[in-house]
């Protein structure tokens, strides 16, 4: 559907990420590196998953249970990978703090740590958008459009709408997760895999004919919930830190 439509779909999926990138991440080179590495890690996880599942695809049945197993295993694997990322991040934090001590600069601020988590999450989100959405948008730059049977209400390219929700979920759940691991807050730590699972299973609803009318709005509810939870958590953390600082100054 021509160049304008193609660019429109791309920006639909990646517009907010681009805004976040330009305002927050591009100012600090280290965050760009974090973003690139977390994108790479997500890609590797996808390749591993596809390597494992390749023999079973394409599914011959239209029943929903093979897809649900696929989603469950994938989400479990990726959440496990998040723990690995957290370990790596702790080590990196140690190195950076040691470096800061040697150059006589302040150690990592709380906002710095949250920005690194944000960059990591954005990397995951961008990887999701690029591989699940952008790579399939190439036909949209051409003269025609494409519909799938199960969701004939909108062109297929509205996967960019789904991708936008997932980008939000990935980005902010990383912030929640890292904050939760740092504080040892169980509810924060648990809510992230739960959100991921709910989002994944909601996309299963799309398998039913006409299911996308229900599935996509619900997905957006989940994304907004993630956003609100993350905002509340960050606000709470920052005010706590400020109160602590003010208390120390007295």
């Amino acid at each position: 559907m021509t160049l304008a439509a193609g660019i429109g779909y791309v920006l639909l999926a990646l517009g907010t990420s681009l805004a976040l990138f330009v305002t927050i991440i591009s100012t600090k080179p280290f965050l760009i590196l974090t973003l690139l590495s977390s994108t790479l890690v997500w890609l590797i996880s996808l390749i591993v998953l596809s390597g494992v599942w390749r023999v079973f695809l394409p599914f011959k049945t239209t029943a929903w249970w093979p897809y649900s197993i696929l989603i469950l295993t994938s989400i479990a694997f990726q959440e496990g990978l998040r723990l690995v990322l957290w370990r790596g991040y702790k080590k990196l934090e140690g190195i950076l703090d040691a470096f800061a001590d040697r150059v006589a600069k302040p150690r990592l601020y709380l906002t710095d740590k949250m920005q690194i988590a944000l960059a990591g999450g954005l990397g995951h989100g961008v990887a999701h958008a690029v591989f699940f959405c952008l790579s399939l948008l190439s036909p949209s730059f051409g003269p025609a459009t494409f519909y799938v049977d199960k969701c004939s209400y909108a062109p297929f390219f509205l996967i960019s709408v789904i991708s936008l929700a997932f980008v939000t979920i990935h980005t902010f759940s990383m912030v929640i997760a890292f904050n939760g691991y740092a504080k040892g807050n169980k509810s924060d730590q648990l809510i992230v895999p739960v959100i991921h699972l709910i989002a994944g299973t909601l996309s299963l609803v799309n398998l039913a004919s006409g299911g996308c009318v229900v599935g996509i709005p619900l997905l957006y509810v989940v994304a907004l919930l993630t956003l609100a939870y993350c905002g509340k958590m960050v606000w709470r953390t920052l005010t706590e830190a400020q109160i602590r600082l003010a208390y120390q100054d007295q």
Binding site: L40, I47, G51, Y109, I162, S203
Partner: protein, 408 residues
């Protein structure tokens, strides 16, 4: 609310040089992908595309896979042999101090690349977009563009942004011509060049190692087309230092307030032999000697404190260093990504991430070993691996999931 502005943390400037190198590499790859997508040529248009890289075997779509592979192998062997011979020639010329000749040759090659290759690609673009322009205007514009490019390569008084842009443009043009090679030849050639690079830099008799050692012992420049991230300003004289790659290694000196350590890793540039013959569609690839593309990754650090030994600075994350990357790296990375673009965009993203990861790994190894290291092998081998994995595994998986609107 914030009474005392707190001091800037380390996150502000950490990793700056790496980004300064990754950005032009990404821009080069992006432009090549765009060119490949716009000028969608298939093999039938260029059936008579003869270069040194297809002398041994001309691939045609009707051959079997095994034949194609054998042919590609032969092609790559011929190419690598030619590259080796010319590299040794370069070492010889450098040994006999013919640096002026090499510099002029460098300028001449960039003239050919910008003028002829750039001109042809410009013509393709004019055809595709149906731009109304007459030949005289076009020649005039092209000539001006080329001359400014040659000057940017030669002189160091040109603003650094212009020089950097021309380097990227030369990389894009050469890489695009390489993507016109047949498919199997391209992939086998990439792997062959990566292996050759490894051998040439690390083996004791390798030509590039000899070159680097000669240059160090003489404390001279290697005349080469190298992308440098920023100019080096000598604080003593407050002038732009001439583009010198080698400098006196003066580690522990307390006399000089300037403590400079150079970490370099030299690597190969590719060469393409020019056969300017008109009237035939034998498309010439400009010969860029080593001069054009002796990709050197090097860091010139300049800190006022003597004897400071910051571990992280060694990873290239120091705040005042500058990394140089040879043009051959740009070109081969972009060829890989351009070839991936000819299949599908998913492979492009995967290969891009693989190449950037390889570049990062190479920079870290550079900081660790502190000697000449080739920049091609890790990135190219990772890129080829990810291309194969994506094409075989990932694509089916993603298409299956997405066409059912299933995502995680």
């Amino acid at each position: 609310m914030d009474q005392n502005p707190r001091p800037t943390g380390i996150l502000h400037s950490l990793g700056e040089e790496i980004i300064r190198i990754i950005t032009p590499v990404s821009i080069c790859m992006f432009l090549v992908v765009i060119l490949v997508s716009i000028l969608d040529t298939n093999s039938s248009n260029f059936s008579s595309f003869n270069t040194i890289a297809t002398i041994a075997y001309d691939e045609s779509t009707s051959d079997s896979e095994w034949d194609k592979f054998k042919g590609a192998l032969l092609n790559s062997l011929v190419f690598v042999a030619v590259v080796t011979v010319v590299t040794f020639l370069l070492v010889l010329l450098f040994y006999f101090r013919c640096t002026k000749f090499l510099k002029y040759y460098m300028g001449f090659s960039s003239f050919l690349v910008l003028g002829f290759m750039g001109g042809e690609i410009g013509l393709f673009l004019i055809q595709v977009f149906k731009i109304a322009i007459d030949s005289f205007t076009y020649v005039l514009l092209l000539f001006n563009f080329t001359i400014v490019g040659v000057l940017a390569v030669f002189m160091s008084k040109i603003p650094i942004l212009v020089t950097q842009s021309y380097m990227v443009i030369i990389g894009v043009l050469t890489a695009y011509w390489f993507t016109m090679l047949p498919e199997w030849t391209t992939w086998v050639l990439l792997v062959a060049m990566a292996l050759y690079d490894l051998a040439a830099v690390l083996l004791p008799g390798g030509p590039l190692r000899l070159l680097v050692e000669l240059a160090i012992s003489r404390d001279e420049d290697i005349p080469a087309l190298v992308y440098e991230a920023r100019p080096i300003v000598d604080p003593r004289r407050n002038s732009i230092v001439q583009r010198r790659i080698w400098r006196n290694v003066d580690l522990e000196s307390t006399e000089s307030s300037q403590n400079q350590r150079i970490i370099a890793n030299a690597e190969e540039g590719q060469r393409i032999i020019t056969n300017a013959e008109e009237g035939q569609r034998i498309i010439a690839n400009a010969e860029e000697g080593h001069e054009l593309t002796a990709p050197l990754i090097e860091r010139i650090r300049d800190h006022g404190l003597v004897g400071e030994n910051l571990g992280l600075e060694g990873i290239g994350l120091g705040s005042s260093g500058a990394i140089k990357l040879g043009l051959g790296d740009f070109i081969f990375y972009s060829v890989l990504v351009g070839r991936a673009a000819m299949y599908d965009y998913m492979t492009v993203y995967a290969c891009y991430l693989a190449i950037i990861a390889g570049l990062g790994i190479t920079l870290m190894l550079l900081a660790l070993y502190q000697k000449a290291l080739p920049a091609l092998p890790v990135s190219v081998l990772l890129g080829v691996l990810f291309y194969v994995l994506t094409r075989v595994f990932l694509e089916e998986f993603i298409v299956q999931c997405s066409s059912n609107l299933l995502m995680f």
